[in-house]
């Protein structure tokens, strides 16, 4: 069972229309975006997305000249209730695992916190051992 999820990251100049053009590429390939976030620095940003077919998204965007990389992240199902985030953050904090960045969505299959951590395998172990629920890659398809 694989709990690591392939996230695609795309380098984007901070300019009107950049996000639209990236989204258009995915749309044309009929790739569905499950979750995404934009991290912004001065003048440029990184678009990160979980999509149903990450390999295809990577290939198409690269062919069109975008700078794309793939990163292993994990998705943790949260209780969609007050305290849901705390439970998971605490689990990792107690185990000494650092969250590099995170974003969340509330919907299918549950409220999900997408995490990029410094030690992926360690984090998976810790969460499973603490009876946490991880999203499987196939659940995104």
């Amino acid at each position: 069972m694989s709990y690591t999820i392939k996230q695609i990251s795309i380098f984007a100049e901070n300019k009107p229309g950049r996000l639209a053009s990236i989204a258009e590429v995915l749309e044309a390939e009929n790739i569905n975006i499950r979750a995404f976030s934009i991290a912004e620095a001065s003048g440029f940003g990184v678009v990160r997305a979980l999509v149903d077919r990450p390999e295809m998204a990577h290939q198409r965007l690269t062919e069109l000249g975008y700078v794309v990389s793939t990163t292993d992240v994990i998705g943790v199902k949260m209780r969609d209730k007050p305290g849901g985030l705390r439970e998971i953050a605490k689990m990792l904090g107690n185990a000494g695992i650092n969250i590099e960045y995170a974003y969340a969505y509330s919907g299918r299959p549950a409220a999900v916190l997408v995490l990029r951590v410094d030690h992926v395998d360690e984090a998976i172990k810790v969460i499973l051992a603490s009876n946490g629920n991880l999203v499987e890659e196939k659940e995104l398809a």
Binding site: V46, T71, R116
Partner: protein, 423 residues
């Protein structure tokens, strides 16, 4: 020859030249009058700075031969350089001019270790262009055997290199790269299958990076050669040290100036090259502003020669920008960016004026392999680029990282600067 002896000789030659031109050249006479300088005012070599500059425009304005000195009977050759803008320029030579030209090239070839046993293929164009004949006579002067291949038909050229046991070649750096590629396609390993070990490359700007690429791909040692038709043609080369081009002091006097103020710069300072040809007869050149950017080094070279060296030409003065009072050359930006492996080769400079202050933005393409999902890495890279540029240019620069392929590509001369200042 010691530096002092060399300078004493230069002073004598300069003095003679100035007296001669004041008397025999209408152009120089008028120019000196206008600058209120008389030959008697030249009392030391440094007094050269009292003399007026001469420009490419002067040659164009006096097309074809109004600047020539002496009788038509003494002329033995013309060369004509194609002007990419405006009229071409015509240069003329007396027999002594041709002798000095060949002598200058011969000394350069000797200084890289070539001699009677060498076979030199001259793959510069022969004709109105000075490259072919310039190297031809220089190589003959040292007793080398010349293969006057000229340009074109690269496969044939490679066959000649093999069959005639060619040891040295003279051509443009880009033709050398092309030749190496064609050789590879033909299944010829230049290092194993030929005796070619030396290349004299010039007539177009090239970089240290390109030298390393050529040397590593072919096992050939590549030397820079410098000259322009106004000065005679290709004249001066690097020596075996490959660290600066020796300008023979008995033939030419070198200055490097600030292109804005015309003031002379010291050793190591980057500016516009100004040449005074001390022995040229048919078309004299005093303080000729070539428009090439370089710096000079007047220390004795490890090869033992005391003749001043100039660094590789890094650009044209026409490209120079002045940002908050500091001279910035796009070539410096290019050089700085080249030192950072995470960046692509394409860049763009955007200059604007915000309020009273000039701002310079360098947009540079990121290499795909360098892309990190982590914002910190990208910010660090951006800061590093800004830091390197700041250090090399002495002016603060904004940096923008852009995706590969987003900046405009140029087929010919790249237009990398967008100046939006309204002055």
């Amino acid at each position: 020859m010691s530096k002092a002896d060399l300078e004493a000789m230069q002073y004598k030659l300069l003095k003679t030249l100035v007296y001669k031109l004041y008397s025999f050249s209408e152009f120089y006479h008028a120019r000196m009058k206008a600058a209120n300088v008389h030959p008697d005012d030249i009392r030391s070599l440094d007094d050269v700075s009292k003399l007026p500059f001469m420009y490419k425009k002067d040659l164009r304005d006096n097309y074809p031969d109004k600047l020539f000195v002496g009788s038509q009977d003494d002329l033995v050759r013309y060369h004509v350089s194609s002007g990419t803008t405006g009229k071409p320029t015509v240069v003329g030579y007396t027999q002594r001019d041709l002798d000095n030209w060949a002598e200058s090239v011969a000394r350069g070839l000797t200084s890289v270790g070539l001699g009677r046993r060498d076979v030199m293929q001259v793959s510069y164009g022969y004709g109105l262009f000075t490259g072919g004949l310039g190297l031809h006579y220089g190589a003959e002067r040292i007793g080398a055997t010349v293969v006057p291949a000229s340009v074109g038909n690269t496969e044939r050229q490679i066959e000649l290199i093999q069959d005639l046991r060619v040891t040295a070649i003279a051509c443009t750096p880009s033709y050398m790269v092309h030749m190496a590629e064609v050789a590879q396609k033909m299944g010829v390993d230049i290092h194993k299958d030929t005796l070619l070990r030396t290349a004299i490359l010039g007539a177009e700007p090239w970089s240290e990076k390109m030298r390393i690429r050529i040397q590593e791909a072919t096992g050939i040692k590549a030397y820079d050669i410098y000259g322009t038709s106004e000065l005679s043609g290709p004249l001066f080369t690097e020596c075996s040290e490959q660290n600066g081009i020796h300008i023979w002091g008995d033939l030419a006097y070198v200055e490097v100036i600030d292109p804005e103020t015309g003031e002379r710069l010291g050793p190591g300072e980057k500016g516009e090259l100004v040449m005074t040809m001390l022995q040229k007869e048919a078309l004299p050149m005093i303080r000729y502003r070539i428009g090439d950017v370089t710096s000079y080094d007047d220390g004795t070279c490890p090869c033992g020669r005391s003749h001043v060296r100039i660094s590789r030409i890094t650009g044209r003065v026409d490209d120079m920008l002045i940002i908050r009072g500091i001279n910035v050359f796009p070539s410096q930006v290019e050089y700085s960016l080249m030192t950072i492996p995470d960046l692509g080769e394409h860049f763009q400079i955007v200059v604007e004026r915000k309020g009273a202050l000039d701002t310079m933005l360098v947009r540079v393409e990121l290499k795909t392999a360098a892309f990190s999902d982590k914002l910190d890495d990208l910010i660090n890279l951006k800061n590093k680029v800004a830091h390197v540029l700041r250090n090399n240019l002495n002016v603060a620069v904004d940096v923008e990282l852009v995706s590969p392929g987003t900046l405009t590509r140029f087929e010919g001369k790249a237009k990398r600067v967008i100046d939006r200042r309204e002055l």
